[in-house]
Symmetry: C2
Subunit: 373 residues, 2 copies
């Protein structure tokens, strides 16, 4: 039985860490991306080319047994048009549904998955009406809203007009009731094309400036909330028929409800700590899942862990000083080998495992704070 070849559409850190996870399984990886970033160099057979061009896609995909994506925005649909026989996991239908928050939210509602109150507003009037009813609300672009981009928080119907102009597409935008959450949870699921699934323990995530800053596990929720978060994540992934690894970000409300916030049909920043803290990392389980292999144990192998992101602080060529970055003891450093640094660009992360969440958190923050890229 020859080993399967895995293709990855995407030139970022998630593709890089997926290729690294494929290495101990001896699985060869081919990456296609549309510009040189440095991240995949020397870890995979990397092609840098116009990844919307049919001949590029066809030639690149030919040796791949399975192709996966680094993000729902990768041109998986173009690939299927160019090379219809290609096996793409997750499926293009799931990706296309998730890309458009209107379609995504409708599919989740149909499956009874709990979400914030929301309206798919087709007109400015509908948006104004919804905001008037919700009080505070978040307006989101149907496509391309993430990490604070393409979103606007409004407090009254009068604030809607300006946001509508920048965010609304021909089919309108999404109006979500503002959730005054107590905590943010993220649950990662790995699911094979046959529907086998494993669920990672919930992670408690903390955002700063709309970007993930830190993730800790165990999340410290009540047993009922932990159980509900896992149930909602599994229901979400099944409703959208996602294969591979996917993460569901959720609000935990003050009354203990769990509401879906975002769905990512791919390895996710909140689960990077699985590299150091869990029996099988999200990246290895992504490789296993998309290839239809037996899934690995998603359980913790340590009592607690904390991951803190390392963001760029300037514009230019990245040149980490490892004698400084590696000085904090007991911290696992993961750099993404990006050639260029930009302010707030994700350049790497640090994970600390420990006997309890508080020490892990303190040491991870402290380790991340010494790294300047």
């Amino acid at each position: 039985m020859p080993l399967p070849t895995l293709g990855i559409l995407g030139g970022g850190q998630r593709g890089r860490m997926t290729a690294l996870a494929a290495a101990p399984l001896a699985i060869p990886v081919r990456i296609l991306c549309d510009r040189e970033t440095g991240t995949g160099r020397a870890l995979a057979d990397v092609t840098v080319a116009d990844w919307t061009a049919p001949d590029v896609l066809r030639t690149w995909a030919a040796p791949c047994d399975v192709v996966t994506v680094e993000s729902e925005w990768a041109p998986a649909d173009r690939l299927l048009e160019a090379a219809p026989g290609t096996v793409v996991q997750p499926g293009v239908d799931a990706l296309v549904t998730i890309r458009h928050k209107g379609r995504q939210r409708r599919a989740l509602a149909a499956a009874g998955v709990p979400q914030p109150d929301l309206v798919l507003a087709q007109t400015l009037d509908e948006a104004r009406e919804a905001v008037g009813r919700f009080g505070a609300a978040v307006l989101k672009r149907f496509e391309g809203s993430y990490d604070g981009y393409g979103n606007a928080t409004v407090r009254s119907a009068g604030d809607v007009d300006a946001a509508w102009d920048t965010l609304a597409a021909d089919d309108g935008l999404l109006v979500e009731s503002f959730v005054d959450f107590e905590a943010e949870a993220a649950v990662t699921v790995a699911r094979t094309p046959d529907g086998d699934a494993v669920v990672y323990p919930a992670v408690r995530s903390e955002h700063r400036d709309h970007r993930l800053h830190a993730a800790v596990v165990p999340a410290g929720f009540s047993e009922a909330t932990e159980h509900e978060a896992r149930r909602v994540a599994l229901a979400t992934i099944a409703a959208l028929d996602v294969t591979g690894v996917a993460t569901v970000e959720m609000f935990v409300t003050r009354s203990g409800r769990v509401l879906v916030n975002e769905v990512a049909p791919r390895p996710h920043n909140t689960a990077h700590l699985t590299l150091d803290a869990h029996h099988t990392s999200q990246f290895e389980n992504h490789v296993r899942a998309v290839l239809g292999l037996p899934l690995g144990d998603p359980g913790l192998r340590v009592p607690a862990a904390c991951m803190v992101n390392v963001l760029g602080t300037r514009d230019g060529t990245a040149s980490p000083d490892l004698s400084v970055a590696l000085s904090p003891a007991g911290a696992s450093l993961h750099l993404y080998a990006k050639d260029d640094v930009r302010p707030s660009r994700k350049m790497g992360h640090v994970t600390v495992t420990a006997g309890d969440v508080e020490s892990a958190r303190q040491r991870a923050e402290s380790a991340a704070s010494v790294i300047r890229l």
Copy 2:
């Protein structure tokens, strides 16, 4: 500060796992080996060429800030002759001393490191005399004895003649008193060119047919034995002035003494479990140490772990069936991506981390037993 480039002389699994450990630190790796094995492919910039040829060595080493070796037998001395300015870690003096068991044993004796009773026999008569005195003894080639190769166990002076013919070199051979050990211990040390060092907890190792079968940690020795094993390992590495990662294999006698058996100036099979069980793996600490970077925490991040080797069982092209190999839950599989399989060739290993040594051992044995390569 640009990232340093690391060169590795060697095309096996240790170079492969070192390159994999360099990846999260964004450190580029160049490998030179004398035949294509498959192990380094797509993880490093691999050159397959005659690695004793001066021009090959010069060209390959030019972009390397530091060059390390996968084994003490790699042509580091040839490299220094061809390109005298190259920084080689561990230093060639240490490698040359370790390669020859006579020189190695003399250096350890001079430093007061405890070893089995031994004689560097220059003549057959001297060898006979030593065996007569020791009773049972192990005769070892001065160069090229490992994993049961180049060794012979003899019970009386009359057995010496046949072994002498096959094992003795111009300068004779090593006669070691046979140690009726209670256990075998291995301690790995990482040491920088400045002499900074960290010591991993002792591993209890188990050999079958003279090859490592399993390694478990914690070793379960008394506190005094654990302490003595670490002290002896550090003293050994300092006496030989080894930089990078090195492992000292030791006998623990029934009377509780710790005696040096073998010294490996490189990452070692008994410490492969550090990839899954420790804060910083031996491979990452090897990268850090040879580059003079701050060393990582050698402590366990889990209560216990067991590694079991996966050996080849036939001759031919390797074709692992991952749907079988990945079926045991909670086991971390590490395949070395070797193109060819041979009986007893090290093809990979499995590590299980757990709450106690017994469960780790049981599950690792069971996981390794289902893998057929």
